[in-house]
Symmetry: C2
Subunit: 283 residues, 2 copies
């Protein structure tokens, strides 16, 4: 197990591992400040691969100018320890200039509605930053499988599309959302929440779970379910809704009626902290 900061050392380590018959590489790209959601990805990667690489890189290109890049929580020593315990073989913690060399101006861009709705609407260059950094990290690590959390549902769909469209040779493995005991979806950003915000943020999971139940009971009209989720969230005085959407779970296309698996996804601000959550629903 080692902490690596240079691309060259990483590539040499992986080459050495391959030479030692460590055939498959599992990769968990993260922005660090690891929580149990990340750990579930690392554990899954360890089950399925000979060697597991966890990257810790707060990627500047996926943050907007007024977002939380500077204050995003960072603690590499803690991350290293936790990742090691979960089964990581290499923690890769590059500097910004290791990923984006001076003058870099090449982007991997997924065009179309898929990156313009949901989080793409309020964070216009977010997915361009995500797909670019993931493309770069895949090129450096060359994993057989890469692990992402379902919490970032749109990210998963966009990355799968990039991999398919650009014929990248990596399997994308998606792991379920991990929640706190009280139901709040795990996020590195949860540390921003004060006590009141933390309490009111529980409404996201509650509203989504209740909508899922309603749908199972036969309420399959998307406008009704969206209205229900909105009202439930708005009953919390600190909640400011960014979006509440119910879309086709595969394509993110608009739907009116839930006939096959749909994705109910929300983004809501509590104070300065923007949280996202989602659930699959079907009838």
């Amino acid at each position: 197990m080692c902490l690596i900061t240079s691309n060259e050392d990483l590539i040499n380590s992986l080459k050495k591992a391959k030479d030692n018959k460590m055939q498959t590489v599992g990769f968990v790209p993260t922005m660090g400040y690891l929580h149990d959601g990340h750990l579930s990805l690392i554990k899954k990667a360890k089950e399925e691969n000979d060697i597991v690489v966890v990257s810790v890189f707060v990627n500047p290109t996926q943050f907007g100018p007024n977002e939380d890049f500077d204050r995003y929580p960072r603690d590499i020593e803690r991350d290293y320890k936790i990742a090691k315990e979960a089964g990581a073989d290499i923690v890769y913690n590059p500097e910004v200039e290791d990923i984006y060399p001076k003058g870099a101006s090449t982007f991997a861009v997924v065009d179309g509605d898929i990156t313009k709705k949901l989080c793409g609407a309020s964070r216009p260059n977010h997915f361009k930053g995500v797909t670019t950094v993931v493309n770069i990290l895949f090129n450096i690590v060359m994993p057989d499988r890469a692990y992402f959390g379902q919490k970032d549902a749109q990210q998963v769909i966009v990355i799968k599309k990039m991999v398919r469209d650009l014929h990248m040779k990596v399997d994308i493995v998606v792991c379920p959302i991990v929640r706190e005991a009280d139901g709040l979806a795990m996020s590195s950003r949860n540390v921003y929440l004060n006590q009141d915000e933390r309490k009111q943020a529980l409404v996201l999971n509650l509203a989504l779970a209740e909508a899922q139940k309603k749908c199972k009971q036969g309420n399959t009209k998307v406008t009704d379910l969206k209205a229900f989720i909105k009202e439930t969230i708005e009953a919390q005085p600190l909640a400011q809704i960014d979006y509440v959407e119910i879309l086709d779970a595969q394509t993110l296309d608009e739907i009116k009626e839930i006939k096959k698996q749909a994705l109910a996804a929300v983004a809501v601000k509590f104070g300065k902290t923007r949280l996202i959550d989602n659930v699959f629903i079907d009838s």
Copy 2:
């Protein structure tokens, strides 16, 4: 030696070759209708690698709406024969849908001046198409080295930048322009030229070579050299200049005086046929 049209067959063939200790893969991406310029790339690739893949794919995304995609010359049987003689192990000739699956909308884009000047100015989406297809082909073929002709000088610079920015693991090898006996740079598009156009097109090489000589003799002012090249070309009645430029050979930045290696590049239409040519010049 084999002709392969499906991605799966190509990937399996390359896997088999790797298992048989054919360690290194050299790749020559082409749009087919091979000429001696392509053959010089294939021969160079054969010298430096265990296995050589030549792709023949007329890439629709790098053509503008009023360009020559439909009439671009195609002859896969001839290409297969010629590539084989030059040392290719695999000729890969995919269909458009093999490269761009239904609904594909992901692009590898090199932003900035580098793709906006020269050919980028008159062909606005050209380089977006080039970098995307090269990115895809690299992901499918996974070559150790890829071979490009200096004739497409800007393409070489843009692809090198993409490879560097996205950390792609492939060496870009650039081979010199190959010319007809009378000096015309080899191009699949030369077949479009009628007798008069073909004769007058010789002016490109003549003007560039003369400018190179002038510079060596101490005429290092870019405006003077550009004016000379323009006048020389314009003396041919069928020539319509798209651009005449002298730029830094590494960065394509504007320069006023030739102090280190510069690139003198021209694009000129003869009838409906747009030809490009270039030469390195220094003092």
